[in-house]
Amino acid sequence: MALAVRELPLDLDAFEGPFDLLLTLVLREELELRDVDIAEIVVAFLERLADRDELDLDACGEFLVLASALLELKARGLFPDEDLDLEGLDPEEAAEELAERLAAYRRFRAAAGWLEERLKAESDRYFRLGPAPLSPTAERPLAQQEPAQLVSVLRALAAEPPEPSLGHLVLSYPPLSRFLERFRTLLRSRGRFAFDNEVDRLPRVDQVVAFLALLELRKRNEAQIAQAGPFEPITVWNASAS
């Protein structure tokens, strides 16, 4: 004997009787769905199912549809703010809406089934995916190599590199005394001279030392120095002569 879902006896807190009566009362709004524990209904069905030797797939399917319908109705009741207001719908319309939703899903499930069939039917259609292969790059195999040569190359790489020469970095300064002597001679012979003229052709380092010599002469009060402005020619004259 087939398992009749509609005759499934229920013993819930809010309701006692067969499943189809529960459904009728809910659809007529004579029973508040929020008071009905759907999990209990599922348990009752599973218990009934466990009593039987064979799995009744038709009954399972029917039960699943009905239980999910109840569940969705209940869920909607719990969210009265949903865009689609079911409060205003009479049970007739609510059931209509529910059936419409379920049918929509069933259509997409059927479409998925159609795609699956299609995929199977097309399983022997092979085609190239992605870009065509690029022209192959020519392989350039290495010639036979001697291991000893590799060792010698590695040895050369492992050797300590020679200490780099810092010779070009060393600066040679001319002695300060050379410029002191020279400027003193100039002051004695001419009494006055233009610093720029004297150092014009000297290398940069020599010019620096010459300038230091000039400052030294000024410090010892052997010479007077004047400059009209920044970067203007520097004039030097004998301090004692002025």
């Binding site: 479409a111 795609l115 259609r125």
Partner: protein, 197 residues
């Protein structure tokens, strides 16, 4: 005796060029594209394709010309499928789950469609199914929702190619699939009526 002169039909030459283009193309080529690159009219390209289709067909050639994904492409003949299977993997087709197929169906019919919309129809979140389909390149992003800003998805030309569809019109009418609302409604009523009467 007059010498037999072979006069070449100019469409034969075009057919050879079109055949060459299809060989190097990585995706189906539309008649419009073929006409552009061959600098020919669409009518002549169609004639050339007819010539090629006559030569490259199941049972006659290892290469078959097919009208798929809105264009024309070459593929292996079905009789070579077993050998092809030993040569190449087909990661796109392999192991599509029920969830993936349902999600693909929703996108194929309603796309561009967002994940929340898909979830509303299927009743469960579609995130991983969508991600898997994107990875397989069967669907791709197609802009964003006007209101919520959710990313919307649509099927790709690869989807049509894998499922052997010449275009979106090849999908069966959604209304013809599955049961309609009236039938379900009737079942609910039926169960209630048996007791309520």
């Amino acid at each position: 005796m007059e010498r037999l002169r072979l006069v070449e039909n100019p469409v034969d030459r075009l057919a050879r060029t079109v055949e060459a283009l299809l060989v190097i193309a990585s995706k189906p080529l539309s008649i419009d594209e073929l006409a552009t690159v061959t600098e020919e009219t669409e009518e002549r390209v169609e004639t050339a394709l007819g010539l090629i289709a006559g030569r490259l067909r199941e049972g006659r050639s290892g290469i078959v010309l097919e009208h798929v994904a809105g264009g024309y492409a070459l593929r292996a003949a079905r009789e070579a499928a077993e050998a092809c299977a030993r040569l190449v993997e087909r990661p796109v087709q392999r192991g599509l789950t029920q969830a993936a197929l349902e999600t693909l169906a929703v996108i194929a019919y309603l796309g561009p469609v967002s994940r929340p919309e898909i979830a509303r129809i299927r009743g469960v979140a579609a995130d991983s199914a969508v991600a898997g389909l994107v990875e397989r390149a069967l669907i791709a992003e197609a802009g964003r929702d006007q209101e919520g800003g959710a990313v919307r998805y649509e099927t790709t030309p690869l989807f049509e190619r894998v499922f052997g569809l010449s275009g979106p019109d090849d999908l069966p009418e959604l209304e013809d699939l599955g049961g309609d609302a009236d039938e379900l409604r009737a079942r609910l009523e039926d169960v209630a009526a048996r007791r309520g009467a």
